[in-house]
């Protein structure tokens, strides 16, 4: 169980890490037996533990390192995927090459921006969670979509923590919308190859696999407004209202999703 490799790193933040991780890993193992996709019903305890390393209000450096960790994850995912012959059909190769190019640039940018404060790249293991991710194209696209949608929600969740660091906020926003472009095209390709027309470029309700990636996306209350009751919107579908706004994820939620891919930090 690769997830135990990181216990040492987190035990110092959380004395109960061993117990919680054992529980989490047991869940993951059981889910994997049931379905390769259900493996994504990810151990929530992981994120809770990891988050203690950051504290309640992360600094700008911590936010950027959090972003860097996610970009490392995405970059390695596409490096392997794009480099695996026979995985990506030639029709879609230019799309994933473009995404991979961006993720590498984002990693390089964040490493340069953080300089000596940059965290090292963790060791990732994607097949540990999705055994066929680099042999089966639909699985690869499913994970791509999940990583991109998670990325969008992760950056969004940190905007408030950068509100006083204007240049960093702007850079983060400039990456955030590119992740959304990636997510939309991955979703479109998944819809095409799966024949599932309910998958669109935008997130409908809280639907999607893995479920943890889409938790809370069915929200229709924005600010203080319950949008289905707002003037001029009573004729627009509930689903469209959920699609019109992407929702943030907390660090806890994101690390719970990404954690199982991390073999060693």
């Amino acid at each position: 169980m690769n997830i135990f490799n990181i216990i040492d790193s987190f035990q110092k933040f959380d004395g109960d890490a061993v117990g919680r991780l054992e529980h989490a890993s047991r869940r993951m193992f059981m889910n994997r037996i049931g379905s390769k996709l259900a493996a994504a019903a990810i151990p929530v305890a992981f994120g809770t533990i990891v988050n203690k390393a950051f504290g309640a209000t992360p600094t700008a450096t911590e936010v950027l390192n959090y972003a860097l960790t996610l970009e490392y994850l995405e970059n390695e995912f596409y490096m392997i995927g794009n480099g695996t012959s026979g995985l990506i059909p030639s029709t879609y190769a230019p799309v994933f090459a473009q995404i991979g190019k961006h993720e590498k640039a984002h990693v390089d940018f964040l490493v340069a921006a953080l300089s000596t404060n940059a965290v090292a790249k963790p060791t990732f293991d994607f097949p540990a969670v999705f055994p066929t991710v680099f042999t089966d194209f639909p699985t690869f696209v499913t994970v791509s979509k999940a990583l991109e949608d998670t990325g969008v929600r992760a950056y969004k969740g940190q905007a408030g923590n950068l509100i006083t660091s204007k240049p960093l906020l702007e850079y983060a926003l400039q990456i955030h919308s590119v992740e959304a472009r990636h997510a939309a095209i991955a979703r479109k390709i998944l819809a095409k190859i799966s024949g599932d027309a309910t998958i669109k470029g935008w997130i409908s309700n809280d639907a999607g696999v893995p479920a943890a990636v889409y938790a809370g996306e069915g929200n229709v209350v924005q600010g203080t407004l319950n949008l289905p009751g707002v003037d001029g919107l009573s004729g627009v579908s509930f689903t469209a209202i959920t699609e019109a706004f992407d929702e943030p994820l907390t660090m806890d939620q994101v690390l719970a999703i990404a954690g199982p891919f991390i073999k060693k930090m």
Binding site: E170, L173, V178, A180, R181, K188, Q222, G235, A244, P248
Partner: protein, 237 residues
């Protein structure tokens, strides 16, 4: 019920567009100077201010009005697109453009409600440069509007002081980016265009970033698509 209510929203926009067309017809007939009173008689309340400058205001409210103005433009555009679909619009395109129309209407109505009494008036679009019968013209305009929307929200982020408003802008900008991606893929399927090098920028030599463009650059760029003169001179910068 669903259909009727949606039709109401759409018909409001249709009404606005027909007003624009009427004004344009009259102007092109060379009677612009004489039509003032007639236009006032024919228009809804939103149009009464005619060509007076619309000031977006200052502070966070100004930024929200800026977003409201852009969303009005997008909503009116897609409403027209679906009211008069271009020749050969595929079922997939119809689904995509209908979804986007609804998202933009939702954004517009959200800002209108959120701004309440501080909201600017309903703007009168000017889409005379777009050929709504032509796929390339429509999707080209859609690409421009979506890319511009992304750049505008990205540039406005650092001008917002409220964390709540910043998050709301963030919730919308990624949906605009999704639109841009899908529209671009309709124009150049299965290429890198969805996040193309033609629209992305580099920062300190590293690529893969959407641009962040200030209101002072965005507003002159979108002004040709709006009849009313929009002023962002009091916006934060």
């Amino acid at each position: 019920m669903k259909k009727t209510l949606l039709d109401n929203t759409v018909s409001e926009d249709k009404q606005m567009l027909s007003v624009v067309n009427r004004r344009y017809f009259l102007r092109s007939a060379g009677v612009a100077a004489a039509t003032g009173a007639f236009i006032l008689g024919a228009c809804t309340d939103h149009d009464i201010q005619g060509d007076q400058t619309v000031d977006l205001g200052s502070g966070d409210v100004g930024i929200l009005n800026y977003a409201y103005a852009l969303e009005q433009l997008e909503a009116a555009f897609y409403t027209q697109v679906m009211a008069t679909p271009y020749a050969g619009m595929t079922a997939e395109e119809k689904m995509i453009l209908t979804d986007i129309r609804d998202h933009e209407i939702i954004h517009r109505q959200f800002f209108k409600a959120a701004l309440g009494g501080s909201a600017i008036k309903g703007l009168t679009p000017n889409f005379t440069s777009i050929n709504f019968n032509d796929r390339a013209s429509v999707l080209g305009a859609a690409k421009l509007f979506e890319d511009t929307g992304v750049q505008a929200y990205n540039g406005a982020g650092k001008l917002i002081t409220s964390g709540d408003y910043l998050l709301l802008a963030g919730k919308i900008v990624s949906v605009e980016a999704r639109h841009a991606s899908i529209i671009r893929d309709l124009l150049m399927p299965n290429t890198g265009s969805f996040a193309g090098d033609d629209v992305l920028v580099t920062i300190m030599g590293f690529g893969g970033f959407d641009a962040a463009v200030p209101p002072s650059v965005i507003l002159p760029a979108v002004q040709p698509f709006v009849m009313d003169k929009i002023s962002g001179s009091n916006l934060p910068s």
